[in-house]
């Protein structure tokens, strides 16, 4: 991508990556998440007043670089899907910033961050200069120009396709919204091209979703996501509903498309073997917080957070000849995000818990090599 650097951005373009992180040093950040919070109110009582809130995402920060795949893993309820949906602006976050470096430039009237502290300027930007917007502050109308650049692939290929629309119409719909200038014929051409890219034949375009298998449906969902020529694709458990033999086909397709179109992926999944295969870096979430983030090999070779270590040792492996490493089975269950423990969210199950873990939420500590961990006592493990 040869884009001129944004002139109006708080995003650190010379990102403070350690020099020893060769994978990322040459990549520009496309998105930076700062202290993202998403609380869902819980209503109850006689007058349906808000009685509590679910802290689904509670202070998450990370950076996504152009062309990379960041794997986001964690157990159900840890907030990984909510994070993804916040990035796609399907939820309006309670707090924090999502700074997105758009390829859009010029006349778009958006609330963009200027040099001063947040001034919601509506002045047009100069042409050909990418703008950086805080997606967390955009309403639906303001978000629309940027939606083309951030697309989502959903987990359930049965629920995410409209059963009353043909495949052709499903893939065409984003084009009618985002690229009306193509015209009817242009759109039809592009739909045919997209279907071919994801490995479906043109004859299949007039069929309905129920006529397809799970793997084929996921291909339709991918074609729809690619229709608007996005730069960032948020893939929320894209292969977990698929059978093993189909899963590999879809993973390969996602990788081919990334190579061809220079896509950036946020790959949300709970299957660590799949995440390891596809990701450049992996972020581990627990109870709404990021507990560890590191390049893939580093995370698997040298996990530092006690939760990451337990998670890695809990995953069964398809190799009966492997000497059975001593499993570290976590006791207890994930606490509810309705009533998070004070301080570190993991302290109720942590094997190395210390008295002051209840005092304050641990910050992410940089260990070098792009590896950060949210545990001040990580060195106490052997």
């Amino acid at each position: 991508m040869s884009q001129p650097p944004p002139t109006d951005s708080r995003m650190p373009l010379a990102a403070p990556q350690p020099a020893s992180s060769p994978v990322l040093a040459d990549r520009l950040p496309i998105l930076e998440v700062r202290d993202l919070r998403m609380y869902f109110p819980v209503f109850g009582g006689l007058f349906q007043r808000q009685v509590a809130e679910v802290k689904a995402v509670d202070g998450v920060s990370f950076t996504l670089h152009e062309g990379e795949t960041l794997g986001l893993v964690g157990e159900s309820g840890c907030g990984k899907s909510t994070t993804g949906k916040c990035l796609a602006n399907l939820y309006r976050p309670t707090g924090g910033e999502i700074l997105f470096r758009s390829r859009r430039s010029g006349e778009v009237q958006v609330h963009a961050l200027s040099d001063e502290k947040r001034a919601w300027s509506v002045r047009p930007f100069p042409m050909r200069v990418p703008v950086t917007v805080d997606l967390a502050r955009l309403d639906n109308a303001q978000m629309r120009p940027f939606r083309a650049e951030i697309q989502m692939i959903f987990q359930d290929p049965y629920a995410s396709l409209n059963p009353r629309m043909t495949v052709h119409d499903i893939v065409r719909e984003p084009l009618t919204i985002h690229q009306p200038h193509l015209g009817a014929a242009g759109m039809d051409d592009r739909v045919a091209w997209l279907l071919e890219k994801v490995g479906l034949s043109p004859e299949q375009a007039q069929r309905y979703p129920h006529e397809f298998s799970g793997g084929q449906r996921q291909r339709i969902g991918i074609a729809r996501a690619l229709a608007t020529n996005p730069r960032l694709v948020i893939a929320d458990e894209p292969v977990s509903a698929l059978d093993v033999s189909i899963q590999a086909q879809v993973i390969n397709l996602l990788q081919d498309l990334q190579e061809e179109f220079g896509l950036t992926y946020l790959f949300i999944a709970h299957d660590l073997a799949v995440v390891e295969h596809i990701s450049d870096r992996i972020a581990v979430m627990y109870l709404g917080n990021l507990v560890e983030i590191a390049p893939t090999a580093e995370l698997f070779d040298n996990p530092r957070h006690p939760y990451t270590r337990a998670l890695l040792s809990a995953i069964p492996q398809a190799d009966p000849t492997r000497p059975r490493a001593r499993r570290q089975i976590l006791q207890g269950e994930v606490p509810t995000p309705l009533n998070k423990p004070s301080g570190c969210g993991f302290r109720t199950r942590c094997p190395i818990v210390q008295p002051d873990c209840a005092q304050f939420p641990p910050p992410l500590l940089a260990l070098g090599n792009g590896h950060s961990v949210a545990c001040p006592y990580h060195a106490r493990q052997n």
């Binding site: 157990e75 159900s76 298998s213 793997g215 084929q216 059978d243 093993v244 033999s245 189909i246 899963q247 590999a248 086909q249 993973i251 390969n252 990788q255 709970h270 660590l272 073997a273 799949v274 390891e276 295969h277 090999a297 698997f300 337990a310 998670l311 809990a314 995953i315 069964p316 492996q317 398809a318 190799d319 009966p320 000849t321 059975r324 499993r327 089975i329 976590l330 269950e333 994930v334």
Partner: protein, 357 residues
Amino acid sequence: MPDDLLRVTDLKTWFRTEAGLARAVDGVDFTIREREVLGLVGESGSGKSVTALSILQLIPDPPGRIVDGQIFFGGEDLLEGYRRGSYERIRQIRGNQISMIFQEPMTSLNPVFPIGDQVAEAIMLHQRLSRPAALDRAAEMLDLVGIPAARQRLFDYPHQFSGGMRQRVMIAMALACQPALLIADEPTTALDVTIQAQILELMLAAKEKSGRAAILLITHDLAVVAETCQRVAVMYCGRIQEIGDTRTIFTAPGHPYTRGLLRSLPRRGQKVRRLPTIEGTVPSLFELPAGCSFSTRCPERLDQCSTLPPPLIETVPGHLVRCHLARPAASSTPDRASHRPPQPTQSATTPPCQGQL
């Protein structure tokens, strides 16, 4: 064989649907020995759950019907009554000598009864205990599966438990009568990995404690099988394609389908650019190929594969492969020797699995 706890021969369970006859299970043979954990793996629609439900005669009829086969449990043909339309005998066995853990711990518990009553129900029925005695026993079982303050929670309802805890309740219910065979149908699929590890550990520990129980573990997760089962049966399109001990299946798979499945798994610590895949998709149950059901996707297909259904061939003692390329263990058949060397020998020379990736 004396130590065969359950022997299934030529089991066929078909479903009559509007779209036609679906041969969900179409000639399944396997045995479960006492105390062993047998894994039954396969993709969705391969017939593994229908096999399990057939053993307990829980197939909804209509549309389903066990049309052929025998299921011997401790020397007794369980299907004998089924053929006559009598369900007396199976009712004595279900939940007592053979019990089942289902995938969805939410839908398989009754939401309007306290869990204590649900666990006690089978105990009262099969062991003829009074309700207080059965509830005592239920509390013991819940305690055994690691539910804290089990006695106080007897009168809680399923919605008051988390997914992992509900699955523990299911296990307590299944083990309440100390069954000889526990059928676990995807017991951990709906659970998170750290909870999955807890539940699998618990199932194996409970089996050890009870002494003689065998487990039939149905799953699509090959990694779970590798870590828990002594033997594995691989199903595809309603038939067992390969059955043998876990180590052999994973290190020297005899069936092209098993090989394809194992290759397509991403593995820890192995960075490959592209995952090998099995081309194509599973054929529809209504339009199964005439010969080998894997012949439409098989990379090693021979001419005869699309017309002639392959028999189960014993390649190594105790290891059966349903493939025309497989060769019997003892006597070698010279006419096929020209095609390729026998699979197990070939794979044995390469390091397990890794060499093929």
